[in-house]
């Protein structure tokens, strides 16, 4: 059969088409990654700040009495930002801000230590009545009640539809004495979730790593040629195909009684940690086994021929050599813990807890995102800000695993 010009041309065209399609397909993933990072950074970068990491999530309200000693004039400090407004009469500065729901806020920028606002006491009935309550920079003024020149009680602040400038002007000009203040913290911080995530990491690694390592050692060192070992291995491998939400279901049924032993009730970080450790188990076992396999058999032979028993050989020779592999298993697990959501939604709950303990519920960073997005008004800004933090952590973990496996390959050269 003779190969004609047209056949060659046709083939060229076909090839070109296929090549173009291949190129386009490959660029799609690049595009998606860029779009994702772009979207997340754009929505969330504005909310990133040190305060985000240290604030409570839930806003706290304070009803405060202002002490009667209110004489004096106050000097405006030199280093105040230009968009803040200073009250000469009462010694504090405020600025305008917008909440992420686009509501207007008046934030405290600075309080002179001698200002009456620095010495307010709790006015709400209860155990804290009369106790001094410090307020700080960043809190918002909802209302300051005052008595004016005519003896009428009036309100200033966001409640009275004012902004920073009008608040300061009103108080400096019309107010005779200030009597009460209603102050709110801004909330929206993720400190609670950071602490919860930390506890979660601790509990799940503390369980998964030792159990996983011991299982891997048994499978690879003690029971290597045993008849039942393949069965044990496949029942562990099967776990990797189970969706994480199913683990959540399992956790509530199987592990819940364990947490009840520790006096935890309902969803708790402990329960979440236990469930998560089960999810991590196959990964830890597999990575540890890989690391054990790399240790050359002649080390084991040498150790045994010197009169060491198997346990000594494992602890003194095999395990130390397997440590780099085990470390990368831990790093991989860390990534999984931070990203896990479905199983934790069931076992840890979705209520953001500002002071979590191991026995209470809480939200990991990922679950916090879920909580923010599953309400009536999804909070894209905060969710994206937390996503940025998560993405950075995941990036760092990925790089560390890469470096570690590079190091691993070098030690065996």
């Amino acid at each position: 059969m003779k190969v004609t010009e047209t056949m060659i041309k046709k083939r060229k065209v076909k090839d070109r088409v296929l090549q173009t399609v291949t190129l386009i397909s490959s660029s799609i993933s690049v595009l998606i990654l860029i779009m994702l990072f772009f979207f997340i950074f754009q929505k969330g970068a504005g909310s990133l700040s040190f305060k985000l990491l240290t604030d409570d999530y839930w806003a706290k309200n304070y009803l405060l009495d202002i002490p009667a000693e209110q004489t004096g004039t106050y000097v405006k400090p030199a280093n105040l930002p230009t968009d803040s407004f200073w009250s000469v009469k009462y010694g504090f500065a405020v600025t305008d801000a917008l909440s992420h729901e686009k509501q207007k806020l008046i934030l405290i920028e600075y309080i002179d230590p001698a200002s009456p606002l620095a010495k307010m006491t709790d006015a709400s009935s209860g155990p804290n009545f009369g106790k001094a309550q410090l307020i700080s920079v960043g809190m918002q003024i909802q209302k300051i009640g005052y008595v004016d020149i005519n003896g009428d009680t009036r309100s200033a602040g966001t409640i009275a539809d004012q902004n920073a400038k009008t608040l300061v002007d009103t108080l400096d000009s019309s107010a005779l004495t200030l009597n009460q203040a209603y102050i709110k913290t801004t909330g929206g911080g993720i400190r609670g979730s950071i602490v919860s995530t930390f506890y979660l990491i601790l509990i799940s690694l503390l369980l998964a790593v030792p159990i996983g390592i011991m299982t891997a050692i048994y499978l690879n060192e003690y029971a290597k040629y045993n008849r039942f070992t393949p069965w044990l291995r496949s029942s562990i491998e099967m776990l990797t195909g189970v969706p994480s939400i199913i683990y959540g279901l399992m956790g509530m049924v199987v592990l819940y009684p364990v947490t009840a032993l520790f006096k935890a009730s309902g969803t708790s970080i402990l329960l979440g940690g236990l469930t998560l450790s089960v999810i991590l188990l196959p990964t830890v076992i597999r990575s540890t086994e890989e690391a054990l396999k790399v240790v050359p058999d002649n080390f084991r032979d040498a150790s045994l021929s010197l009169g060491a028993n198997q346990a000594q050989t494992i602890f003194r020779i095999v395990l130390p050599s397997a440590i780099p592999g085990i470390l990368s298993a831990i790093l991989l697990s860390l990534g999984r813990i931070i990203g896990e959501s479905a199983a934790l939604i069931y076992t840890m709950g979705t209520f953001v807890n500002d002071s979590p303990t191991v026995l209470t519920g809480g939200t990991s960073l990922a679950v916090h995102i879920w909580s923010l997005m599953s309400g009536e008004q999804p909070n894209f800004a905060l969710a994206s800000a937390i996503s940025i933090i998560i993405l950075i952590i995941v990036l760092v973990l990925n790089i560390s695993v890469k470096l570690l496996s590079g190091r691993l390959r070098k030690t065996w050269q």
């Binding site: 290597k224 032979d301 040498a302 045994l304 021929s305 028993n309």
Partner: protein, 251 residues
């Protein structure tokens, strides 16, 4: 000349495949016994019987009698770990642990719970001296063992085995991975060591066997064809197959 090992009718099977057939011999105390023969004929497998290292291989079954100092060492009741402290082994490829020179030699001792630094120092020094390595490493005992040359690493492995004060040292082709100079150093060492230890050596090189051993066994296809003093076996072999092997007609 007393026997330290007595072997009678030893058979070894890997699954259904018989690797050793009716081996019988006596190993004499404080002498060097060499096993020679073409590759794959069971020499190393037989060597591994002396310290029960074949236990580590799945599907390996041994029948027959092997005694050390009149104790049956094939018995399942035997404390194998203890046996291995009396019968040391040096492997074909030097395999020091990824630790310092000192820790390598002290390894076996520490496994026996000997912790006293002075005792360890004493034994380590003695062992390295006996392995003719002391002068070369005495100033760098804390260096990683991998910094040594191949020949030095092998002598380190010998020192490590010696540290346990064994009665017997098994050597599985100890110089096949080494250069001629390192090889000859170790061959000289073997001559010295036999004063205190019984040595059994598997070697691919007939010349090496002729140089270092007092007794030689010729193995072929899992059987001992001939076993005699080295002088007799090499000069007046009684079996034609032995003669063919020694004169280089095969193997």
């Amino acid at each position: 000349m007393e026997n330290i090992f007595e072997i009678r009718d030893l058979d070894l099977y890997y699954g259904t495949n018989q690797a050793l057939k009716k081996i019988s011999m006596d190993i004499h105390r404080n002498e060097v016994t060499a096993f020679i023969g073409p590759s794959g004929c069971g020499k190393s497998t037989f060597l591994r019987c002396f310290n029960r290292m074949n236990d580590l291989i799945p599907d390996c079954r041994i029948e027959g009698k092997m005694t050390m100092n009149d104790t049956d060492i094939m018995s399942s009741k035997l404390n194998v770990v203890d046996l291995r402290t009396r019968v040391g082994m040096v492997f074909q490829k030097p395999n020091p642990f990824p630790m310092s020179i000192y820790d390598n030699v002290a390894y076996g001792l520490r496994c026996q719970n000997i912790k006293d630094k002075k005792v360890l120092d004493q034994i380590v020094t003695q062992s390295l001296k006996k392995a003719a390595l002391w002068e070369e490493v005495k100033d760098r005992l804390n260096e990683n063992a991998y910094k040594l040359s191949g020949g030095q690493q092998q002598r380190l492995c010998i020192a490590r085995a010696i540290s346990m004060e064994p009665d017997v040292i098994l050597m599985d082709e100890p110089t096949s991975a080494l250069d001629p100079i390192a090889t000859s150093k170790i061959e000289d060492l073997i001559q010295e060591l036999k004063r205190d230890y019984t040595i059994i050596i598997v070697t691919h090189s007939m010349q090496q066997a002729a140089r270092v051993s007092d007794y030689t066994a010729f193995f072929l296809l899992g059987e001992v064809i001939e076993f005699n003093t080295t002088k007799v076996l090499f000069q007046i072999p009684s079996d034609k197959r032995t003669e063919d092997y020694i004169t280089g007609r095969f193997g």
